[in-house]
């Protein structure tokens, strides 16, 4: 324990020192630890990310204010971290929590973090305590809501089990409240994504509650291509 601690935190110090200059012109002046692999990512996670996204660096946050990252698609994490770093993702929580802390991450570190979190054991869905609501949500998830003010079906991109793929996030196992908040953000234009802003432009609060209830039951198992 002693050697791990001493060594890792020395690395952490350097890593953080490097972290903070990433993205600036000074980045190149300070060398990263020679092995920016999983261990380095773990150091970053344990030093910074874990405080919100799972205290034991397991990627499973306790408060629904913060998303569960364990098992999330690595490409999605990488994209989001870059969007946050550049302040392109600008919803209230992104600003409050992620803009500053991600602003100096290097591309390599972002890759390392994405790899780290995506490799962690994901959280699966759970049976719904409100089957009627979940059934309503299932309808929206699988078929959307037709009409002039339509809501686009989720299954198209997020998949049958909501495992997501590439830049489409895994939703299964996520905190329902977090998902609901993001849907509100998308609907109200606080979180910008042309596709999602359009897809859920007319979704109602009740529909958000329903679809989130359904998603929380999904397994997130890899769906057949």
């Amino acid at each position: 324990m002693k050697s791990i601690t001493t060594g890792s935190l020395a690395v952490a110090a350097v890593a953080i020192a490097c972290t903070v200059v990433g993205g600036s012109a000074r980045t190149a002046e300070i060398s990263l630890p020679p092995d920016p692999g999983a261990r380095d990512a773990h150091t970053l996670v344990s030093f910074a990310c874990a405080k919100c996204h799972g205290a034991s660096a397991n990627g499973i946050s306790i408060s629904p204010i913060f998303p569960i990252l364990a098992g999330q698609n690595s490409i999605y994490i990488e994209e989001q971290l870059k969007l946050l770093r550049q302040h392109y993702r600008a919803d209230p929580h992104a600003r409050a929590f992620m803009w500053g802390i991600s602003h100096a991450l290097t591309d390599e570190q972002i890759q390392g973090l994405a790899t780290y979190f995506s490799a962690l054991p994901a959280v699966s869905g759970r049976p719904s305590s409100n089957p009627a609501l979940a059934a309503k949500g299932k309808e929206i998830y699988e078929n959307g809501r037709p009409g002039p003010n339509k809501v686009i079906r989720c299954i198209e991109c997020h998949g049958e089990t909501s495992a997501g793929t590439n830049t489409v996030p895994r939703l299964a196992g996520q905190h329902p409240d977090y998902l609901a908040l993001q849907l509100h953000y998308y609907r109200d234009g606080l979180r910008e994504n042309k596709l999602m802003n359009r897809n859920v432009k007319y979704i109602t609060d009740d529909e958000i509650a329903a679809v989130v209830e359904y998603i929380s039951t999904l397994s997130g198992a890899s769906s057949p291509e």
């Binding site: 020192a17 344990s46 100096a104």
Partner: protein, 551 residues
């Protein structure tokens, strides 16, 4: 400061030690008033109440611990809400940030040095973590407190405008990758002086898996290092006012345990802590007298003069807490124990000195009772022993829009008075020619319960209830001896920006027994107004309009 008040009471009264948990000390002020208290004693003005009034005026000279500071936000890249529900109350994340020694950072190092083992040997950012903190308030008393400085009450204003009430310069942030500091210099509006305020310097480390976080804290305010808000320096409510309980009207103040009174200018200590599995917290610490302006090593007479007394040797403190977080919820329950040997400051003249003074008076042709001049500020060997046992709790719901908090503590204090100062076994003399305590042992129990609610960190308020009861000790507390008090604080907050807060507070008093109340004091002082134990506690009710900001 509170203890300064106690000086004049002729020892460490509980009133004196009663500084509200939200208050901190300003040593410079304490020192000045301590001296003034000493002058009072030397002049032998006599009446205990008068002394109490003058000394206890120091009670009002307190400052609150500072709150969240922008340097932490600048250092971490996180907005205030990451660490605070509303400053100074911490979220689970904020607690971990503090326990990790304030070291989390994303600031680029402007100067960075590492050794051959890639160990950081120097790490300096482009900007030091400096912040300005300001608190301003306008207070209105239900009734103008008596001007206790005069033989007969003169007109006093029922309004007080503190502009500023407190103005601080703070360094807050990482010093190295494992060391962080909070260093605060405060201008205290009521005292009109600048002094060293809260200091907390931490070393922290943790295991690779974060299972254990441990650290060492050196600080000058017992409980300032704590990360929960049910007890100690950051108890909620936490706005500095001149209300009787939180700042004190000149010459008065509510009673409370000594746990809340060991602050800047009085003590400094060092502690070690460990946080296991994100839930179990252990801490042990020891505090010692640390009075600015004294010699080296600390000269007790300086400490005594400055603070109404001094810690004798080390005061051990132990703390344990358990926190569990789930969903938006965070709940903590904790306990702490403090043991203090305290040398109370009393005007003292020995029997021998008294006899010598008598003889001198006879020789001078003026026999009778001479105006004894206390030769020193303590009774040799007189030490009071305090044992404070507390339980505290904090429940917090930190939702997307709603914040709800329920927190508080119960502290039981046992005060064993030195038999040299207790009436039945009194030795020596004091300016008033009497003992200081009626009882060999006094006890005090204080309970505080606070409920708060905020919406979107913008609107909200709180209700807080405090109740203190204890053994009746007439020599200590005046009147019938009861140290009792009971009051509520109602607060409405408007936070247009996270670093700018407006509040309206109303403090309502049901019980303010004996010398705690300036109105009771005046009654006790004047022969045509016999002392009352709880005459219209509501006279002390106070409206406060406050502004807090930092940047």
């Amino acid at each position: 400061m509170a203890i300064s008040g106690a000086v004049s009471a002729g020892g460490l009264t509980r009133n004196g030690a009663a500084m509200h948990e939200n208050n901190t000390f300003d040593p410079g002020i304490a020192f000045n008033f301590g001296l003034r208290g000493g002058v009072v004693r030397l002049l032998n003005l006599g009446a205990v109440a008068t002394l109490w009034i003058l000394g206890a005026s120091a009670l009002m000279l307190v400052a609150k611990p500072a709150r969240a500071v922008p340097p932490f936000a600048r250092q971490t890249g996180l907005a205030c809400e990451a660490c605070h529900t509303l400053p100074p109350e911490l979220t689970p994340f904020g607690r971990r940030f503090k326990l990790n020694g304030y070291t989390l950072t994303t600031r680029p190092p402007l100067v960075n040095d590492i050794d051959d083992h890639k160990r950081n040997t120097l790490w300096l950012t482009d900007l030091p973590g400096i912040a300005i903190l300001g608190q301003f308030n306008y207070s209105h008393y239900n009734r103008a407190p008596p001007d206790t400085g005069q033989p007969y009450p003169a007109h006093a204003q029922s309004d007080t405008y503190q502009f500023p009430d407190q103005f601080s310069l703070v360094y807050a942030g990482a010093v190295s990758d494992k060391v962080g500091a909070w260093l605060q210099l405060t201008y205290n509006g009521q005292a009109g002086s600048v002094g060293i305020d809260n200091i907390d310097i931490r070393y922290s480390d943790h295991t690779f898996d974060n299972k254990w976080v441990w650290g060492i804290t050196a600080n000058n305010y017992l409980t300032f290092q704590d990360v929960w808000n049910g007890i100690g320096s950051y108890t909620i409510p936490n706005f500095n006012t001149v209300s009787l309980a939180t700042g004190g009207v000149a010459g008065a103040g509510t009673t409370g345990p000594i746990l809340n009174a060991l602050g800047p200018g009085v003590v400094a200590g060092i502690g070690a802590y460990a946080f296991y599995d994100d839930s179990l917290y252990f801490e042990v610490a020891a505090y010692h007298s640390a009075v600015p302006g004294g010699g080296s090593p600390v000269v007790d007479s300086v400490s005594l003069a400055a603070n109404g007394g001094a810690l004798d040797r080390f005061a051990p403190y132990a703390r344990i807490a358990y926190e569990r977080d789930w969903g938006y919820n965070s709940a903590e329950i904790g306990a702490s124990a403090l043991y203090v040997n305290w040398i109370p400051s009393v005007g003292y003249i020995s029997k021998q000195q008294q006899l010598a003074a008598d003889a001198a008076a006879v020789a001078a042709g003026t026999p009778g009772t001479p105006p004894y001049t206390p030769a020193q500020t303590f009774n040799p060997g007189a030490i009071n022993r305090y044992t404070d046992l507390s339980v505290d709790w904090q429940y917090q719901y930190n939702g997307q829009h709603n914040i709800f908090g329920f927190l508080g503590h119960v502290t039981h204090e046992r005060q064993q008075n030195s038999d040299q100062l207790v009436a039945a076994t009194f030795t020596g003399s004091t300016p008033s020619g009497s003992a200081i305590y009626t009882n060999p042992t006094d006890t005090l129990t204080q309970a505080l319960v606070t409920a708060e609610y905020f919406r979107d960190r913008r609107y909200g308020g709180l209700v807080s209830f405090t109740r203190t009861r204890g053994t009746w000790d007439p020599l200590l507390n005046g009147g019938n001896g009861s140290p009792a008090n009971q009051y509520e604080t109602f607060e409405l907050d408007y936070v247009p920006w996270l670093n700018f807060r407006l509040l309206l507070q109303y403090d309502v008093y049901q019980v303010v027994a004996n010398n705690q109340s300036p109105f009771n004091l005046s009654n006790a002082t004047f022969p045509n107004s016999p002392g009352f134990t709880n005459i219209r506690a509501g006279n002390n009710n106070t409206w406060v309009l406050g502004l807090w900001m930092d940047y």
